[in-house]
Symmetry: C2
Subunit: 287 residues, 2 copies
Amino acid sequence: MAGTLIDCPVRRLCVAGTVAVNRQNRVVNSPANVTVLGSCGAWPEPDRACSGFLLEYDGFRVVLDLGYGTLPRLLAALGSTTADGLDAVVVTHAHPDHMIDVHGLFRARWFGRQGAPRIPLFAPRPVLDRAMALEDDDGSAVARVFDWHPLPAPDCDVGPFVLHSVELPHFVPNAGVRLSAPGLTMAYTGDTGPDPAIAELGRDADLFIVEATDRAQQPGAAPAPEGRAMLMTAGQAGAAASEAGARRLLLTHFWPGNDRSLSRADAEATYDGEVLIATEGLRIDLP
Amino acid sequence: MAGTLIDCPVRRLCVAGTVAVNRQNRVVNSPANVTVLGSCGAWPEPDRACSGFLLEYDGFRVVLDLGYGTLPRLLAALGSTTADGLDAVVVTHAHPDHMIDVHGLFRARWFGRQGAPRIPLFAPRPVLDRAMALEDDDGSAVARVFDWHPLPAPDCDVGPFVLHSVELPHFVPNAGVRLSAPGLTMAYTGDTGPDPAIAELGRDADLFIVEATDRAQQPGAAPAPEGRAMLMTAGQAGAAASEAGARRLLLTHFWPGNDRSLSRADAEATYDGEVLIATEGLRIDLP
């Protein structure tokens, strides 16, 4: 799981740029937390948003996914109209419920902080392509705001974190991610069908954010194509967290209209630890 | 201004479909209102959203623009996770701060109301193209959710309204729109530079929604390209409303970070009527 650290461009950026301040001042087990920006899968329920999480550790802030409706919540969490204080972006895959507001974030930086250092963006290539396609230029403006790095990729430093990533089964390439810093490990599946790699991703994590789309709650939901599930139930999420030995499980990516208390009960049937239910604005102190 | 009604496909749809119920039951001067879904230009401020307005008249509901962050607010205003009760969509132009959440609305209908009648979508073609490009298919799914009609176009019935549209100057094709029903006229510029057509669009309107981007409030704002402004100041918005003889002026599309009280003061210096400031959740009873 630990992998070998490589001297990737982002590591050099971290050492050379503003992140270095955080690294130099880093205090092991310093305050860390996750704020839920959005909890819905596919599209947002009324007054909610789709996938998005802001992870803060020792003053370093990385956002994981930016689906429909997340950007105003991210900016509120940062306390900045121009996303000042955001150090990195990680996006699991190119479905709009996980990345559409990356383009809005681009605009906040392009118009609001021209000339500022580029923000590292870790994402499968289609995420970048989709953001670029929303501009009327050749995409070069997006490339001047984000310093793109592909996912999945070899382990790499992202500020105080080691970013580990692995491809998980979904309709499009999806990278499960694991962010480890001294005293803290957090993992996040993005969207995935059941797979042994999920337990490895979340091994001994302090917080394991697992999608629990639970299509089965919806009458008439289409069966899994080609005989393989590409999304999870809450029971499967709990089982994966159990196998991983994760300390806490945060269920998310609820299909609109689902009964989240049912999802919680299903996860508690397969996982003995604490089950948290993602809801917009929820802040979880770590570890 | 009145134009000639044509027997366009939407008119036939209205008469044949659910809209006919509204038309048949229509009561002149029945309750009407506008709800502001988003008030920001370019990108959303913290806990706000970009352009979006829900217009309701005699139970018929049409949304005008759906920028970043508007979809959860639209669904809350409709009281429906699947946008039940929404009768039509009008989008002024293809910039994402005016249309990105059209794709989320597509998903709400595609996944949540498969087989439901298509929702009329009036928009310049690039709006449809952009929404289609966000899908992994050939765009046919989007075409099965929305019944697209180009803008600008000849006057046409949209439920109880006559929709009048005119191209206004912007970086991309932008359609100013005017919706008239017995006892009510509302007009909306979308994004525009100053132009004599704006006053014609808002002639004697009960409510004139005019963009007041007011880039001039921001230090270092880029000058208008090619010597022609493609956005408005609040003072210009007030002047256009004065020339139109509009009864009320709703300023919107504020550049993030702008002082909206300054925009109000500037508009009041050029317009004697009531100046309203768009803010998320504001509901304005009409006429």
